[in-house]
């Protein structure tokens, strides 16, 4: 099962993980990653913009690649767009597999690609001013692990 969505509204990661887990009764293990806007950090808001003709198709292709690389029962890729406040979920990926290593690798792979190889642009509001965020050096080296 593949679930890929671009969401405009805040959502509760636990509920989504619960549904994903329950809908994969044949999976022995489910790995999830939840990324959220940090509360302490001086970040007042985060904004993610995207380009519709590329972003969702790119997320879908990424999910397909995970399904083809590992033995998965299912995969989920949810990403927010728009303006988020501290504590809100930015991204949620999950992978369900018979064996845990496949699920760990797939979730790791999905996150590395969403961070620096998916069609999103991120900026943070600090001291009432917006600042564009570029991937860190480690995001690029993390990505290179999968080539």
């Amino acid at each position: 099962m593949k679930q890929v969505s671009l969401l405009e509204q805040a959502f509760s990661p636990g509920e989504v993980i619960e549904r994903f887990t329950a809908s994969h009764p044949d999976a022995g293990g489910i790995v999830s990653f939840t990324g959220q806007v940090r509360a302490s950090d001086g970040c007042e808001a985060l904004e993610l913009s995207h380009y519709a003709p590329l972003t969702l198709p790119g997320m879908d292709a990424l999910a397909e690649e995970a399904l083809s690389r590992w033995a998965l029962e299912g995969v989920m890729v949810l990403h927010r767009s728009g303006t988020m406040l501290p504590g809100e979920t930015i991204v949620l990926v999950a992978a369900a597999a018979r064996h845990r290593r496949d699920a760990f690798l797939a979730a790791d792979f999905l996150m590395d690609h969403l961070k620096s190889d998916a069609w999103f642009w991120k900026r943070e509001k600090r001291d009432d001013r917006w600042h564009w965020i570029e991937p860190r050096e480690t995001d690029y080296s993390d990505l290179a692990r999968w080539k």
Partner: protein
């Protein structure tokens, strides 16, 4: 009609808008010539990619947009 130019990320800040129009037909040099100095300089950065009607171009130099086309200017991404 004209060519619709879509600015993403920090390019939208520099352009002062997320979209504008330029006259068709439009090639890469024509696009740069149609943008003001700082914006043209940012767009010409090697890390900026181009998409025409949702399809990425392998090389900016092959841009050949016609009336009604949408050209997206895509700076380095940052998600998650």
């Amino acid at each position: 009609m004209a060519v619709r130019i879509v600015f993403l990320g920090r390019l939208a800040d520099l352009a002062g808008a997320s979209e504008r129009e330029l006259a068709a037909p439009l090639d890469w040099l024509g696009l740069l010539a149609g943008l003001e100095g700082e914006l043209a300089s940012a767009v010409s950065d090697a890390k900026v990619r181009l998409a025409v009607n949702g399809a990425l171009l392998p090389d900016k130099a092959v841009l050949a947009a016609s009336e009604g086309d949408e050209v997206a200017l895509l700076p380095p991404v940052s998600g998650g």
